[in-house]
Amino acid sequence: MVTAGAGSGPASGPEVGPEVGPEVEPESAPSAPPAVVLEGVVKRYGGRTVLHNLSFSVRRGEVFAVLGPNGAGKTTAVELLEGYRVPDAGRLRVLGLDPIADGAALKPRIGLMLQGGGIYPQIRPLEALRLFAAFYARPEDPAALLRAAGLEDAAGTRYRQLSGGQKQRLSLALALVGRPELVFLDEPTAAMDPLARRATWDVIRGLRARGVTVLLTTHYLDEAERLADRIAVVDAGRLVALDSPAALMARAGGPALRFSAPPGLDTAALGAALAAGEAGAAAADVHEVEPGRYAVAVAGAPGPALVARLTAWLAEREALLTELSVGRRSLEDVYLELTGVPAELAAGDAPAGGR
């Protein structure tokens, strides 16, 4: 289990979704195949290779995040698994089946949420849920799902007139209406306000509690860190890391010192100044992770002397220190190292970030 990060409240979200019968398939013997398998998958568009020999597998019942910057190939990977695209090489298995050849058998067992919704502009939320419910043998109750998605007040509003967050919640509810064993969520919280994001995280935790496997893509680091049992970091179509959030952070090791000050400081000069007193230390590594927010990676534990040198350096430049913390390095630091993408670009418009 992944414990909720600081500030996200208790990990056990409210029981989401209407009353659900025994959800775990009695047939799922210990020998059941993994939920998802990719082996050496290659995908090209025109002459451009967007997935290079991508391999990973998702275990039954876990929440698996594919994390990467925009354009990393996350959506392509998911759409291959959903049967929308044909790989140029490699092998794909979803619940032990081929996404395209066995599509008819697979579709009743999976749920999916596309980027951009894909919902009739004139349809009303309850109508959409009823339509999709009619496609499954034992669907959820549309009205109960509507309530669980917090869309009761918008039941009669046309999709086109819903807010961005409401659209996303309807799209998520449609992914769940068929009681899937496995759901694919492509950027499930894009365009959501912080409150709606947390509600969605609770839904996803509720799915895991019921034994549903979740594969989600995200470019929000905090989302992957707080939700996922395991994270696949994908960059430019390649898998660059695959581990639990804790292990990923442990891999990058050392503690870090973070502070907020005016943007645009000379990080190289600061790094040199900070390293000046350390016995045999090279220049400390200072990054401006987003304008005005800095992270310092140091070899040992950041001691009082280091903090003193930082404040002195800032005082010389009359730069006001507004925040200072010493602690473990975050996933953001690891991500930066793995992908080389500045976090400010990778995180995009992260709504619930530490701005």
Binding site: G118, A137, G178
Partner: protein, 269 residues
């Protein structure tokens, strides 16, 4: 592996088709512009040309009210509105918005989605025919007296073939063009066929070169068949008129060709 039984967890095909058809129909009626082009416009054309006879639609026959010739033409317009304009444009936008892609990720089989759309078009046409027939009767149109059910059967065949032909044209645009291009293309073609497509003015009444081309258009064939079945006795009364066969062949060819083109070129995303 599993036996090749119907996929577990999926609803019965009949239930899916019912749900999807009902939804397509509801959404069609909810789109204001769609109701305008499918119901209001043909009714206005019927009213206008029946009360203001600008064009000699049939050989002058003082005993026959204009509505007798206008009604069949307006039925052809109604089929074109529903099959090509309304269906084509709505489908094009559904494709652009990813609706078709999303439905493709559900257990609903794609042929069923197409069938649902066809059934919804036919249902709208039933409403159109009912409304236009009531209006035509009020304007003096009278059903053909002779020949029993033969004219009605011919009209029915013409409506079905015309629907397939125009739905095929609309879906061919919707499946390969951008939504905006389909919007312009379907509306533009509609206008051209309305004026020059042999609907109100039969091909034989158009200037020679134009008329010769027009005779091979689906609009002219459809209107010609409907005129033969439901029009003035001067045209419809000849029993199994020999003119019916060329139109029937032209319309059937369009129906087959357009449906095949749509099936071959349609891109779902």
């Amino acid at each position: 592996m599993k036996t090749p039984a119907p996929p577990a967890g999926r609803a019965a095909l009949g239930a899916m088709l019912r749900a999807q058809t009902a939804l397509e129909l509801r959404l069609t009626l909810r789109r204001g512009e769609s109701v305008l082009v499918t119901v209001l416009l043909p009714a206005l054309l019927l009213l206008f040309f029946s009360t203001v006879p600008l064009i000699a639609l049939a050989p002058a026959d003082p005993g026959v009210p204009p509505a007798q010739a206008v009604y069949p033409a307006v039925l052809a317009v109604a089929v074109m509105s529903t099959g090509m304009v309304s269906l084509g444009i709505a489908t094009a936008f559904e494709r652009q918005y990813g609706v078709l892609k999303r439905l493709g990720g559900s257990p609903l089989p794609r042929p069923l989605l197409v069938w649902a759309k066809v059934l919804a078009v036919l249902a709208v046409e039933v409403v159109q025919v009912a409304l236009l027939t009531a209006l035509a009767l009020a304007l003096g149109w009278r059903p053909p007296a002779a020949a029993g059910g033969a004219p009605l059967a011919l009209a029915g065949i013409a409506l079905v073939l015309g629907t397939i032909a125009f739905a095929g044209i609309g879906l061919s645009m919707a499946g390969s063009w951008r939504a905006e291009a389909t919007l312009a293309g379907a509306n533009g073609l509609y206008l051209v066929l309305l004026l020059l497509g042999g609907i109100f003015v039969p091909p034989e009444a158009l200037p020679a070169p134009l008329g010769a081309i027009t005779a091979f258009l689906p609009s002219a064939a459809l209107a010609g068949l409907l005129r033969a079945a439901l029009g003035p006795p001067a045209l419809a009364g000849g029993g199994a008129a020999p003119e019916v066969w060329p139109d029937l062949i032209v319309l059937a060819a369009w129906a087959a060709g357009a449906a095949l083109l749509a099936a071959a070129t349609f891109r779902w995303e």
